[in-house]
């Protein structure tokens, strides 16, 4: 879901109570938000409920959403807040979700044949991604799969843009290291 698609759907929902747009918004964000919420509360069932709450909130607040500039980021911020609320309600110990997130990348867990890369190479890639520090992997996922801008990720996770840049560099470098070099240029 791109930021501009998101904005258009929100407008249709706010102005016309457009249920088809609401469904499209829900199904478009569902998987990404489940993963994001899961990375905070570490429970699949709770994540499902949180995402449902997020969309309840979107429906109830739809008219005021017309004033929200970056609705794409807004949806992630609401998901983060509701996830943290739920954690506190469950009286779990507070923890830094950024450093303990369990987020996984969906787009690289593929059948190697569909990827058209060798199985061995695929193994190395997924291993490299799995071995990224949680914070690094979460940032990489939010940028790559969820299409958030660096400054959005920084705002969402309350980090500096420089940190996001640095973590993205680390992710790419680590992944690159898993690709075997067969060529040395003289």
């Amino acid at each position: 879901m791109t930021a501009s698609d998101c904005k258009q759907l929100i407008q249709r929902i706010a102005l016309h109570d457009d249920i088809a747009a609401y469904k499209q918004l829900f199904t478009g964000y569902h998987s990404a938000l489940i993963h994001f919420s899961h990375s905070i509360i570490n429970s699949k069932e709770s994540a499902e409920e949180v995402v449902s709450d997020v969309f309840m909130k979107i429906w109830n607040l739809r008219h005021s959403l017309l004033n929200v500039e970056n609705t794409h980021l807004y949806i992630y911020v609401v998901t983060k807040n509701l996830s943290i609320n739920r954690l506190q309600k469950n009286k779990r110990e507070a923890f830094s979700f950024i450093d303990d997130s369990v987020v996984q990348l969906e787009s690289v867990y593929f059948d190697p044949e569909q990827l058209m890369i060798t199985a061995q190479m695929h193994e190395r890639l997924t291993a490299a991604i799995a071995a990224l520090p949680p914070k690094c992997r979460l940032i990489f996922k939010l940028v790559k799969e969820d299409g958030l801008k660096y400054k959005d990720v920084a705002e969402l996770l309350q980090l500096s843009v420089k940190t996001v840049e640095a973590q993205m560099s680390i992710a790419l470098k680590r992944i690159a290291a898993s690709i075997p070099f067969s060529f040395s240029h003289s």
Binding site: M1, T2, D5, D17, I19, A20, A21, K23, Q24, F26, T27, G28, Y29, H30, S31, A32, E48, V51, S52, F55, M56, W59, N60, E106, S107, V108, Y109, F110, D111, E113, Q114, L115, M116, I117, T118, M121, L125, V143, K144, E145, K149, Y150, E165, A166, M168, S169, I170, A171, L172, K173, I175, A176, I179, F181, S182, F183, S184, H185, S186
Partner: protein, 356 residues
Amino acid sequence: MPQNQFWNLLAKKFAGEITPSEVEELDILVRQNPDLLFTAQHIQDLWELKQKPNNASAEEAFAKHLTRIEQSADWPGHYPESSSPEKISSPTRKKKIFAFASLIAITALAFYFFTPLTNSAPVAEAHVTEISTKAGSRTKMVLPDSSVVWLNAGSKISYNPNFGIGKREVQLSGEAFFDVQHSSVPFYLNTGNIKIKVLGTAFNVKGYPNEKTVETSLVRGSLEITSPSRPGEKFILKPNEKLVILNQSSRTKTNQAKKQNIVILSELTLTTDSTIIETAWVQNQLIFHDETFEAVARKMERWYNVRIDIKDENLGQKKVGGGPFENETVEQALNALRLAFNFNFTKNENTIVITR
């Protein structure tokens, strides 16, 4: 540290965060470290992967969500089953639906490979991937199907995002050696006025726009060459054969005179230690064998990134052989040739003038 800066800029490029001045900086870094291109290519392929859309579970979750939200006071009645979002038509949506339909029709593989998570990412609008080398540099790259391509100096290869869907197709300008991964998906290469079809094979193609001929040399496997200028004809190459086809542009110039020479089938040329001359450049070797001095000069220009001017026409048509040159400078290579073929040269910065 330039390496860290490279990863930083590459990440920004993929994330769409890169500024025009950073694009230039990245470009320079890649030119200084051509090996990085290979890795960058792989990471780009990875970046462009989209996850399998799990519409079933999203639909299911929405149905569950509906039972909650229908309790809301302002929910406008029941959700009508028939008005699924797929029916909403806008020009881009229609295009996308059409694109999806064709993709699914062609191959299930394509469906998984290119279907985005949401319905929003454009399928057909993704950019063409283009890799090029300047004179004086060569590089090796891997295509999305794991086929390996060595790109000689001053060459360019490109493929569009549907590479691998129904067919694998690349465009080449210049010279490249292909080691094509075997697959039932046919691989097509277009260069100059010929089209080459292969299934899995290793071959070299030399089709510089400013040269008179397009040469295809087959090392192993088999391939099929067609040319719009010779409709209805198919040339099947066997290993160790080479096909030379005159470029359309130069053919019109030479007119009738050389018509019998438009297509030449010959064997690959081996040196005494059985190096194949046509593909020696892949091993970083520059070899000349029974070529006109003019052709040798064009090769050296690309290899060393220099300009070579042959002032004597007879000398230009003279057949020359020599090499292999590996780490020699252009002066050393010319000095070696000079011993056998008797000419003089002067070098001024990047321009070399050859006289008798």
